[in-house]
Amino acid sequence: MEVILKATGLRKTFALSKKQQRLEKSDKKIKVAVDGLSFEAYKGEIFGLLGPNGAGKTTTLRMLSTLIKADEGDAIVNGHSINTEPDKVRQSIGFLTSELKLEEFFTPNYLFDFFATLHGISSTECAARKKTLFERFGIDKFAEVKVANLSTGMKQKLSIAVSIAHDPEIIIFDEPTNGLDVITSKVVTDFLIDLKREGKTVILSTHIFSLAEKLCDRVGIIINGKMITCDTLQNICADTDLETRFFEIYEKEMGGQV
């Protein structure tokens, strides 16, 4: 299998302010968010990062998308280093996270064209891609409605469409179904499966076991910034389900506490 993403020894720390120290009930001035994380993702698979809140999933995805820099380690994304070729990495990926918002003043039509232009897509290619994605997500009926007036689900679908306007090889989604109703969640998960069928690589973070079981070929379980295990679902779960297996691993790591 072709490795399309290889992360090696990724480490990220954040300085804690006095207020954050109080919130974290810690006197440490530095928080290690990701601690020497290594994993690989293969072309055409859906790879899931699984872990509790604060485990380091989002920080890992933000490093892979070059939104933040790694303190140590590197990742090669579609042949490009996140440290030395961030521009080329951004060209190869589509990234979606809840902290990325679309300007509410503009219409889906305008925003799609805008982001496609930034990715260097020709107007002909952009028009064809927009037609496909807008029809797929049902955005075409709202193409000229300002984002501010769209429903939460429609905004999320538009965010997905915009993030992959340039037809990237690797799609990185952070908690893609968070806050969505069941119908929109299904549309999103079905779309991720379709992307896999098209040969795209999807890397997603989630804490929803059923979603991971439904979508992922392989998962990596992160606890306290460390990759505890990374394997196929079958190998990790063996004769049990993912949720049970996750808590076994978690209790072992945390010394029996949940």
Partner: protein
Amino acid sequence: MKSNILTIMKKELARFFGDKRLVLTTLVIPGLMIYLIYSLMGSGMMSAFAPSEDQIYNVLVTSPSEEFVAAADQLKLEITEADIGDIDSIKQKLRNGEIDLYVVFPEDFDQSIASIRVGEAPDEPLELEMYYSSTEVNSSAAADIVFSYLDGLEESLSNLFNINSGSAQYDVATDEDATGMLFSMLIPMLLIMFLFSGCMAVAPESIAGEKERGTIAALLVTPLKRGDLAIGKILALSIIALLSGASSFVGTLLSLPKLMGGDMVELAGIDAGVYGVTEYLTLLVVMLTTVLVIVAIISIISAYSNSVKEATTYITPLMIVVMLVGLTSMFGNGAPTNPVLYLIPIYNSVQCMNGVFSFSGSLINTVITSVANIAYTAILVVVLKKMFDSEKIMFSK
């Protein structure tokens, strides 16, 4: 121009011009409000300091001169004869505005004037008294009228010498000098303030606002270069700020005759037409480069801030500094000549404008100002690019 810079510019301009409320509050209302406020101020001041043209003044006179009474209609005076009574109650009436003036002629005034006319001067000068209130517009005007009348009468009796009674133009100042003096004191300060306000109206919203709403992160995960983002935003915001500054400037220019009183402007020889194409072009170049510097400074402050509110808080002290720098055009005689002074940002622009309006500027100092402003903008663009690249700044919460 690189296409991504253009894409960012187009988006910023589309965001601005697509929002009618933003266009109204940034481009239309400032100019309109300045025009209305200054015009109202001018009208208010005129009515406060000048009586109406058909005003008849109520004058109380003791021992009135016959000549004076005969001239009363022409002088628009309504004369009431009065004995010297309680001077305190008359003073109170003047203060209350019940009467406009009280004049006390000597008892034998007409007789004494007649004697002077035949060459018999009195032993001592005649003593006249005029009571008036300088804080009452009508009283003050009535005193001026009667004083001029009596002064003319005295001049006709003993004309020893005249000053500037011919038709020559004794004040050698030209219209250019008069306009230059006024405009160079006022306009640079107003312009720099309007430009700063224009920049402040749009830059924090575009950078701190995008950061606050999380929309800038969506741009940062595209292959868009941070430098292109910085240049695109600064150029687009400069265009909007320049239009906003121009709106305020036009409002000021249109209201200036009303603010100063139309007659005063004409009498003082003030005429904006004394400035030619060269002056207006120089002004445009200076304004353009100044806006670039101001927008770049405000953009950096906005990028550092987490919200529009925070950015505005940081920018306010800077606005006061800029205002104080703007005041420097009011001091000194024309623009300074030392080229080194034109390397100081904002001050160089104010003095360049001062030079344009007072006809005392030099080409070399204008060039130094423009080049320095562009160089400062370039440095600030690099700083802004670094800030866009810094996760600590862009994602600090």
